[in-house]
C-alpha cells in the first residue's frame, strides 16, 4: 500500500515537542478470516493532518480504523501514539481518541441530550446541560433535544453521534463513513468541524467515499486496494 511521507511542518498551538509525528503506524498488517486485507502499511502523522481513507468495499477501511482505535488487534506491525505502543497504553490511549463507527452508538430509549451527556460522562468528560444543548443546536437538533432518539431519523441520529465531536477534547478522530445519510448542510458542518479540529492541532482519519475539500491542515489520501 501507499506509504505516506512526512507532511511539511504546519503552525501549531501545541508545544514544540508535539510537532513530531504523534501517530505512527509501522508495517501494519490485517487478516480477516483467511483473507489478507493489507500488509506493510506505514503512516506517520504529525498534528493537523487529515487523512482521507478510500478504497472499494471490503478493502479494509473499517478494519484499519478499528485497529487504529484499539478495538482490533493487528495481525502484524504496531500503532504508536506519542511514541508508545497503543497496546501498552491501553485505557490511557482512549482519552485521546474518538471513534465513530458505522453504527451511530445512540441509544433509542434516551433523548439526544441524554445520549450526548452520558456518552461523554463515560469518557470522563462531564458536559454541562448548556454546553450539550449548544452542541446539539449547532448540529441542527434544536428543539429535538429531549425527544427519545427512536423518533429521530437516521440522519438526525447520526447528528447526535457527531455532536460528540463538538464536546470531546480528544486529539485523534477516527470517523468511519459518518457521512452516510447526512444531508448537504450536515456534510458541510462535518467539514467545518474537522477544519477546526485540524487548526487545534488534531488529527482526523476519515473513511469516506465523498471528496472532502478542506481549507485547513494537511490532507493526505490513503487508498486501500483489494
Amino acid at each position: 500500500m501507499a506509504p505516506c511521507s512526512l507532511a511539511p511542518g504546519i503552525s501549531l498551538q501545541y508545544g514544540a515537542e508535539d510537532e513530531r509525528n504523534i501517530l505512527e503506524v509501522s508495517k501494519l498488517g490485517c487478516v480477516r478470516g483467511d483473507r489478507r486485507l493489507f500488509s506493510g502499511l506505514d503512516l506517520s502523522l504529525p498534528p493537523g493532518t487529515f487523512v482521507q481513507l478510500t478504497g472499494p468495499n471490503g478493502s479494509g477501511k473499517t478494519s484499519l480504523l478499528r485497529i487504529l482505535c484499539g478495538l482490533l488487534a493487528p495481525a502484524e506491525g504496531q500503532v504508536s501514539w506519542q511514541g508508545a505502543n497503543i497496546r501498552s497504553l491501553a485505557e490511557d490511549y482512549f482519552t485521546a481518541v474518538t471513534y465513530l463507527g458505522h453504527r451511530p452508538g445512540v441509544k433509542d430509549e434516551l433523548s439526544a441530550l441524554e445520549n450526548l451527556r452520558i456518552s461523554n460522562a463515560l469518557n470522563g468528560v462531564e458536559v454541562s446541560q448548556d454546553d450539550a444543548l449548544a452542541a446539539l443546536g449547532r448540529m441542527g437538533l434544536a428543539g429535538r433535544e429531549s425527544l427519545p432518539a427512536r423518533f429521530l431519523s437516521e440522519g438526525q441520529r447520526r447528528r447526535v453521534a457527531l455532536a460528540r465531536l463538538l464536546v470531546c477534547k480528544t486529539r485523534l478522530w477516527l470517523l468511519d463513513e459518518v457521512m452516510t445519510s447526512l444531508d448537504k448542510g450536515a456534510v458541510a458542518l462535518v467539514r467545518s468541524l474537522i477544519e477546526e479540529h485540524l487548526n487545534r492541532g488534531g488529527i482526523a482519519i476519515v473513511a469516506t467515499h465523498q471528496e472532502l475539500e478542506l481549507s485547513a491542515g494537511v490532507t493526505k489520501r490513503l487508498e486501500l486496494t483489494t
Binding site: 478495538l71 485505557e91 453504527r103 452508538g105 441509544k107 430509549e109 460522562a121 463515560l122 470522563g124
Partner: protein, 219 residues
C-alpha cells in the same frame, strides 16, 4: 464513572419496563405452577420448595442475560463503552451490578411472598430471602461471561443456557441447601457461608473473564 454506567443501565431498563416485568412474572408463574399442579400436600410442597424457587430464579435470570450486552452491541454503544478511558473490568462490573438490580433484586424481594404458597414458615422464608440475596449476584456475574461469549451469535439464547447453567450448579446446591436446612431445623449458616464464598470468587473472576470475552466478541 461506575455510577454513570449503573445509572445509564437503570434508566434504560426503566424506559423499557416491560422487559424487567416479564422476568418477574416468569419467576412468579413458574414458582406458582408447582403448588397448583401438585395440590395441597403441604409435606411434599415444603420439601420441594427450595429447589423449585431456586431453579425458577436460575431460569428467570437466563431470560434477562441475553439482553445484558446484546442491546448495546446492536446499536454500537458497546464499542463506545470499550473505548472509554477506564478498565473494561469496571465497565463490565457496572453493567453486572445494574443487571442484578434490574433483573435479580425484584426476584429476591418477591421470593418470600411466593414462598408462602409452599407452606414455609417465617424463619424459612427469611432464609430463602437471604440465600437469594447472597446467591443471585453469582447468577449475574457468571451469566455475564456467557452473555459476552455468545454476543452476536445466532441462537445465542440456547447456547448461553448450555454454557452457564452448569456453572450455576454450586449456587443452586448451596442456595437450596440453606433453605432445606432451615426446613429441617438445622443451621443454614454453613450453606450461606459457602454461597457467599462462591459469590466472592465469582466477583473476582467473572468481570475479568467477561471483559476478555467482550474484546474477542467485538474484534
Amino acid at each position: 464513572m461506575l455510577r454513570w454506567i449503573v445509572w445509564r443501565d437503570l434508566m434504560l431498563a426503566w424506559r423499557r419496563r416491560s422487559d424487567m416485568l416479564s422476568t418477574v412474572f416468569f419467576f412468579v408463574i413458574v414458582v406458582s405452577l408447582f403448588p397448583l399442579g401438585i395440590g395441597p400436600e403441604t409435606q411434599l410442597l415444603r420439601s420441594i420448595a427450595p429447589g423449585v424457587v431456586w431453579v425458577a430464579a436460575l431460569l428467570a435470570s437466563m431470560l434477562s442475560l441475553g439482553r445484558l450486552f446484546a442491546n448495546d452491541y446492536q446499536d454500537g454503544t458497546l464499542e463506545q463503552l470499550l473505548l472509554t478511558p477506564q478498565p473494561l473490568y469496571l465497565v463490565v462490573f457496572g453493567k453486572v451490578l445494574a443487571h442484578w438490580i434490574i433483573a435479580e433484586l425484584p426476584l429476591v424481594l418477591i421470593a418470600p411472598l411466593v414462598g408462602v404458597q409452599f407452606d414455609l414458615g417465617r424463619e424459612t422464608l427469611s432464609v430463602l430471602f437471604v440465600s437469594l440475596l447472597v446467591g443471585t449476584p453469582v447468577l449475574s456475574l457468571i451469566g455475564s461471561v456467557g452473555a459476552a461469549l455468545t454476543l452476536g451469535l445466532r441462537g445465542g439464547g440456547v447456547l448461553i443456557s448450555i454454557l452457564i447453567l452448569p456453572l450455576y450448579i454450586p449456587a443452586l446446591i448451596f442456595g437450596a441447601g440453606a433453605v432445606e436446612a432451615s426446613i429441617l431445623g438445622v443451621s443454614s449458616a454453613p450453606h450461606l457461608y459457602l454461597l457467599g464464598a462462591f459469590a466472592i470468587v465469582s466477583l473476582l473472576f467473572a468481570p475479568w473473564a467477561a471483559s476478555a470475552a467482550l474484546r474477542i466478541s467485538l474484534e
